[in-house]
Symmetry: C2
Subunit: 337 residues, 2 copies
Amino acid sequence: MLAKYDLPRLTRRVILAAAAALLVAPLALAQTDPLPSWNDTAPKAAIVAFVEKVTKENSPDFVPEPERIAVFDNDGTLWVEHPMYVQLAFALDRVKAEAPSHPEWKDTQPFKAVLENDMKAVGASGEKGLMELILATHGGMTSDEFQKIASDWIATARDPKFKKPYTELVYQPMLELLSYLRANGFKTFIVSGGGIEFVRPWAEKVYGVPPEQVVGSSIKTQFEMRDGTPTLFRLPQVNFIDDKAGKPVGINAHIGRRPIAAFGNSDGDLEMLQWTTMTGGSVRFGMLIHHTDAEREYAYDRDTEFGRLDKALDAAALNQWTVVDMKADWKQIFPEK
Amino acid sequence: MLAKYDLPRLTRRVILAAAAALLVAPLALAQTDPLPSWNDTAPKAAIVAFVEKVTKENSPDFVPEPERIAVFDNDGTLWVEHPMYVQLAFALDRVKAEAPSHPEWKDTQPFKAVLENDMKAVGASGEKGLMELILATHGGMTSDEFQKIASDWIATARDPKFKKPYTELVYQPMLELLSYLRANGFKTFIVSGGGIEFVRPWAEKVYGVPPEQVVGSSIKTQFEMRDGTPTLFRLPQVNFIDDKAGKPVGINAHIGRRPIAAFGNSDGDLEMLQWTTMTGGSVRFGMLIHHTDAEREYAYDRDTEFGRLDKALDAAALNQWTVVDMKADWKQIFPEK
C-alpha cells in the first residue's frame, strides 16, 4: 500500500517515528498499576523489583525472554484448596454419579463411605483410599471423554461455603500476577500436584495458561485403534505424582529449563522452590502464599488440622523467599463478577 | 511522543493508516516464497493449501492460533538418521570415553563390541543391547552434567560420510517449513523417539524449537539435595519410550491438545499421524518424508536393510497423507553454510 505513494524520505521518517510511538503508547498506559489487588506492602514491591531487574537490558541480572519461566502451584496458590482439594470433591461426585454401574461399591470402602456421605470414614481411608477413589473415577475412559466429564463438572459444581463455581474462587491478586509476568515476556506454567487432565480443560480460560503449559500428576494412558478410530484410553494406574520431589522432575520433563520464579503455598512446593531459587548466583524469585485470612478465605499453616505449610515456611526464611500474608497483603481475594 | 504535536484529526488518520501499512508490508514481502528449497511439485502445493485453509478467518476450516499445533519427528524427518541414529553414535562415543572407569566393559557385551569397533556384534546385541548402551551412557549423572556432555559432543562430532557436524545435516526444506508454520501462528513441537534431553540442548538454535516444545523418550530422574544443592539425578532406568504407540501418549502428556499437522518418515510415526489426522471431519495434515535420494542423501524404505517405512507408507495412501519424494520434491537437502 505505502509503496504506491512514493513519499519523500523525510515524510516517511516522520511516519515511521509516529508508527513507533503508536506502538509504544498503549503498553506504557497499561503498565500504570499492574497489581491493583495487592496492597503496597513488601511482597508487591519484591515482585516488581524482581521483574524490573530481569527485564532491564544490559543489566547484569537481565534474563532473555525465552528463559523467563515462572511456575505456579495450583491448589492453595491460584485457587481455594480448603476444606478439601477441588479434585477430591470432583472424585466424590463422580463416585456418586457412577455408583449405579458399580453395585459392589455399596459394600466396599472407601466407596461405601462416599456414598453414605461419611467424610470421617473417607478421611480414615488415608492416602491409599483417596488414591483408589481417584483411580476409579479418573481411569476407564478415553482422554476425550474424561475431558468432557471434567469440563461439565467444573461448569456446574459449587463450593459449599462460598456457593460459587470453583473457577470463581481463584485469587484475583494471582491472576494479576500471571498477567503482569506475561506482559513482561514470561511464560507462565502451572505445576500442580493435581491431575494434569483435570486442570487443562479450564486453565486457559481461567488463568490464561494453555494446556501445553500445565504440568501435573497423571495416570497411564494407552493408544488404541478402536473401530478404526485412534483413541487414548486412561488406565486406572498411577503414572506420575507431581508433588514434593516430583515437582522438579515434572518441571524438567515438561519445560526442560530451570524456572527463574516459583510460587507455592505448601510443603508440596518446597522442592520446586528449592530447584528454582537455589542456583548460587543468578537472580531468582520464590514466593509462598500464607493463608492467614479466616474471614475472607481460610487461615491455616503448621498447626491446624489442615496443616500443610511447615518445612517450606522455615525454608522461606533461610532462602529469602517472599511470604505473602493474605490478610495484610491482598486488597481483594476473589475476582468481582 | 505523538501527543505533544496535537495533530489535526485528518493527519492523525493518515498516520494511523500509514502505520498500519508499515506493519503489514514486511509480512507481505516475507511471504513471497516461504519454501524456496521445495520444488513446485504436489507436496509444496499441499502444504501451502493447508496453511491457507486453516489461517483464513471466517472460513469453515479456520483454526484459532492456540490450536495450530504441528508435531515433527526428528530422526529422518528433520535430520539424517542413516547409517545409524545420531544418538547411537553419541552412545558409542561415550562408551569409549568412559571405558577407563569401567574396566569390566572390556569383557562384557555389548560394551566389548563397541570398544573393539565390531559394529556387527553391536548390531547383534539387538534392541536389548542398544538399550543397555543408552542407559549406561545416559544415566548416572545429573541433568545439568548430561546436558553439558551432550552439548559438547554435538559441537565436535562429525558425520562419517558427510564430514560435517550433525547439526548441519538437517534438512533445509524442513527448516523452511518450520519457519513457515511459525510465521502462520503455529507452535512447532518435536516428538522424537530419541532422548528428550539429548535433543533439547541444541533444538532451539538449530530448529528454533525451545526445550519446552521438545517431546521425547526419557530415563527416570530423581530430585536430591546434594551438599545443600538441589540436583536432578539421572537413573539408568527407562521412564518413557516416545515411539510408535508412545508418540500419541507423549503428545497428550506434553501438549494436551491434538495436533492439526504431523510430519514423520517411518513406521515409528504411524500412530502419531493417525492420532493427528484421523479425527473425522476437520482439516488435518499428515506428511511422510520418503528417503529416495541415494545421491544427495540416502534411499531406503521397506526393502532395504535399514527398512523403516512400510506400514506407514500403506497408511499414507489410505489416509491421503502427503508423501515427499526427497529426490523429486527437494531442490536442496542440507543448508548451505
